[in-house]
């Protein structure tokens, strides 16, 4: 009579009080694999069934603290390590201002995480293959009955005995609940080709939409209005002005800010005779000169001014700065070359301020002295 496929024996009650009496008896008899089903929580039943106190409170606490600590780490790392920005003169790690975000992260992780733990880890959902589904038992529990099942796998289970026990408490109905064939045979198939195809399709679709959105759609009208504005870019032509230039030249005689009139234009000898280096060869000035020399001069003149360009001959190499001629030049004569250029060397007046030019002159003097040291320099 008793099939191998029997899952459990169930009893249905309309009156929860009768069910409670039966549940008490089942606990006394020491059944382990049994359960009570009702479409709403019955008060006091978890204690009566000797269920353990739900651990979800601790899980929520742990997840919440994880959220907080992640938030502290993340705000600290982004705001004071990865890209520190001073905002309103406040410290980089201004904790009070981060509290709202920390609170939200705590609540978010604790609530969503606890729900996920309960549904997918504790309950092992989704589980639509449970033998109770689609039975008359479940249908009645869903409407207006409460039910008790004792599972066949319980070691005290004996079909006749359980049935007799149920009858003793006058249930409205006693039901045998069987496994269906496919429920027994069912195995979750993660590597099923349909499932894999589904994942691949989702991945391709997501990437395609992301690509289209970020690289194509954002550059189409109307989303491109920031890119295409009614203005001219640098060097663009314009039909508005007679000369066809989009960029306008300043009025003749315009002096740029910070520009100082240079009286020795085209007069190198006069500059050499009349200009005097205003800077003293202090450590700071020499350091400034070294920095600017290395940036602007060394690509052609070489690190030590020997004309050994580190551009490897892509430009004509300049003569050495250690020649007799340059060594005997005055400071003003060298300064003039920096301002006006010489031969293929262009003017560096735009790149270097007056002070920087004089600092470079000082540094060149130091370089020259290093290769042509006098006897007393060594001592």
């Amino acid at each position: 009579m008793v099939s191998n496929n029997l899952y459990a024996l169930g009893a249905l009650f309309k009156d929860p009080n009768k069910l409670v009496k039966l549940a008490k008896k089942i606990v006394e008899l020491g059944y382990k694999n049994w359960d009570v089903h009702s479409s709403y929580p019955l008060h006091g039943l978890p204690r009566l069934m000797r269920l353990k106190w739900s651990p979800l409170g601790y899980i929520a606490l742990i997840l919440g603290l994880t959220g907080t600590s992640f938030g502290v780490f993340f705000t600290w790392w982004t705001m004071s390590v990865d890209y520190p920005l001073t905002i309103g003169g406040k410290p980089w790690f201004s904790f009070p201002a981060f509290v709202p975000v920390l609170f939200e992260l705590t609540v978010l992780l604790a609530s969503v995480g606890t729900a996920i733990v309960m549904l997918f880890i504790i309950f092992k959902f989704p589980n639509n293959r449970h033998p109770l589904h689609d039975t008359e038992y479940m249908k009645k529990v869903s409407v207006d009955h409460c039910g008790i099942v004792i599972e066949a796998k319980d070691k005290n289970f004996d079909y006749e005995k359980v049935k007799a026990l149920f009858q003793e408490f006058e249930p409205d109905q006693i039901l045998d609940i069987y496994y269906q064939e496919e429920e027994v045979a069912y195995k979750p198939k993660v590597f099923d080709w349909k499932f894999i195809t589904f994942l691949v399709v989702i991945a391709v679709l997501t990437s395609a939409v992301g690509y289209l959105f970020n690289n194509k759609i954002l550059y189409m009208p109307p989303f491109d209005f920031m890119l295409n504005q009614f203005r001219l870019g640098p060097q663009e032509s314009s039909t508005f002005f007679a000369d066809g230039f989009g960029m306008r030249k300043p009025v003749p005689g315009t002096v740029a800010r910070g520009d100082i009139y240079y009286p020795f234009k085209g007069k190198p000898e006069e500059a050499g005779a009349k200009l005097i280096n205003p800077l003293l060869p202090t450590k700071e000035n020499l350091a400034l000169g070294q920095e600017k020399y290395n940036t602007f001069c060394s690509p052609c003149h070489g690190w030590r001014g020997e004309g050994d360009s580190h551009l490897n001959g892509q430009f004509p190499n300049p003569p050495s700065l250690h020649s007799e001629k340059v060594r005997t030049w005055s400071d003003g004569r060298i300064y003039h070359v920096i301002v006006e250029g010489q031969n293929v060397m262009p003017s560096y007046a735009k790149q270097l301020t007056e002070k920087e030019r004089w600092a470079i002159v000082l540094y060149i003097r130091a370089l020259q002295r290093s290769l042509n040291a006098k006897q007393e320099d060594v001592q």
Binding site: P16, P41, T75
Partner: protein, 453 residues
């Protein structure tokens, strides 16, 4: 009067319906063909939604110069709408979480509906900061993602707190709502005869089988989520008020803003829930589950929160005078007697004066007057946000900068569209999911718990 026994709680559900009758009543809207009334309601709301969609598409194409926003009123109707809709959402969480913690059993009939309204209101609200930026397709950078210069969002800014608060609020409300839905979806799964519906309900009920071993954890998580949602809901409108209070503009820079905003949010949210419930219980014959007692209690909450809001209006004026700050006093005098006095007095009369009618039990318990007062409260609360945002901005520190802000037709179209979106979602929800929590109602019907004889 003296012989009333206050130790006995009145019945939450009127009569003593059988469990199967509860199932039938709540599942009926999902299983029957809708009446013409339903289609009319859906038609109106989707027309409004369409108006909003057209106005939005128009704004996206031509740019937000179509709106009234300009110097000096840069935060205008879009931000007013945002604050308004976030506020509407608060009643739902208050009913479902805070009243749950206080063991107010009368909430069972309306909790599910209020939670759904929370979600829809927050969705509607979330739209406005996005469109307000003018380029909503770049909204991803509101989240902490480094941009092309590896610069992160500014975590010290109230606007980024807003992003976290509103998105957390939406997520947690959704989880809370979904957890509550699972047993009801299982009930529908076992009840339906349609094959397609069966598959859908099976997927979304996740295989719930009413086991008391599960109920043990379920009741715990419900308590935990209610415990989290309670401070969360208070934090959300607090943070929304920080958008204003953390700035240094007179009229915004006040410490009363967080509690004042939260009270206002609950106030307007209850008015909206009450309005919609009155319609739903009438159309779907749920008068015995969403009872008149419940509505009366909601009106009492509105009376209380309305007076809190009125108190806040008073205190703002008092502090403006008491602080001796001339800018502060100017702003408040300007609110009450300046260009926008009409908006200010609409706000005061709707929020403070008309709600006083709820002192009368007769008005608290009659449907038509309470419905009208509910509508007025929402009008008043919209104008409250309008007054706060616009009056302060339109007259800033530099008199030559002052201007009179007027919303354009497109602004109004988008406001109508937000109502359309909200009500369309509500109307679709009514016919696709159980509007009342079946398992909670069954649990409070007399005789369904063991030990009650």
């Amino acid at each position: 009067m003296s012989n009333i026994d206050y130790t006995i709680e009145p019945e939450v559900v009127e009569g003593k319906p059988s469990h199967s009758a509860v199932n039938d009543a709540i599942a009926k809207p999902l299983e029957t063909k809708p009446t013409w009334k339903y289609y009319i309601a859906l038609g109106i709301s989707s027309t409004l939604l369409l108006i909003g969609a057209v106005c939005l598409g128009y704004s996206f194409y031509y740019g937000i110069g179509l709106w009234g926003n300009n110097q000096p009123v840069g935060w205008a109707v879009p931000i007013v709408n945002f604050v308004f809709w976030v506020g509407i959402g608060h009643a739902g969480t208050l009913i479902s979480a805070i009243l749950f913690l206080f063991r107010q059993r009368w909430r069972t009939g309306i909790a599910r509906f209020a939670e759904a309204m929370t979600i829809f209101a927050v969705i509607t609200a979330g739209l406005f900061p996005l469109i307000h930026t003018g380029r909503p397709w770049l909204a991803g950078y509101l989240f902490p993602l480094p941009n092309q210069h590896h610069l992160w969002v500014n975590f010290t800014s109230p606007l980024i707190w807003d992003v976290f608060a509103v998105s957390t609020y939406l997520t947690v409300s959704f989880v809370f709502w979904y957890i509550g839905l699972i047993p009801d979806l299982a009930m529908l799964r076992d009840r339906t005869t349609s094959k397609i519906k069966k598959v859908i309900y099976s997927i979304f009920s996740l295989g719930w089988r009413h086991s008391n071993r599960h109920w043990n954890h379920y009741e715990m998580i419900y308590l935990i989520l209610a415990g989290f949602a309670t401070p969360l809901v208070l934090s959300v409108h607090t943070i929304v008020s920080f958008d204003f209070a953390v700035s240094i503009l007179p009229g915004w820079h006040t410490t009363i803003f967080p509690p004042y905003f939260v009270a206002g949010a609950v106030f307007s949210g209850f008015a909206m829930v009450q309005n919609v419930l009155i319609i739903v219980r009438k159309i779907f014959n749920l008068e015995h589950i969403i009872t008149l007692d419940t509505l009366e209690k909601m009106n009492k909450v509105m009376l209380a929160t309305g007076m809190m809001v009125g108190y806040a209006y008073g205190v703002e004026f008092f502090i403006a005078w008491y602080s001796g700050n001339p800018l502060e006093s100017f702003v408040f005098l300007n609110r009450a007697f300046g260009n926008y006095a009409w908006a200010y007095w609409i706000m005061v009369s709707c929020n403070v004066i008309f709600t006083q009618l709820f002192w009368f039990k007769k008005i608290r318990r009659s449907i038509v007057p309470m419905f009208i007062i509910g509508v007025l409260v929402n009008v008043g609360m919209w104008f409250e946000r309008f007054v706060i945002v616009v009056t302060t901005l339109s007259k800033d520190f530099l008199p030559s900068n002052w201007d009179y802000y007027k919303p354009t037709l497109v602004d109004i179209g988008i406001l109508l569209g937000s109502f359309g979106l909200f009500f369309t979602l509500v109307i679709l929800f009514i016919r696709s999911l159980p509007v009342v929590s079946i398992s909670e109602v069954k649990a409070v019907i007399k005789g369904s718990q063991p030990g009650h004889h």
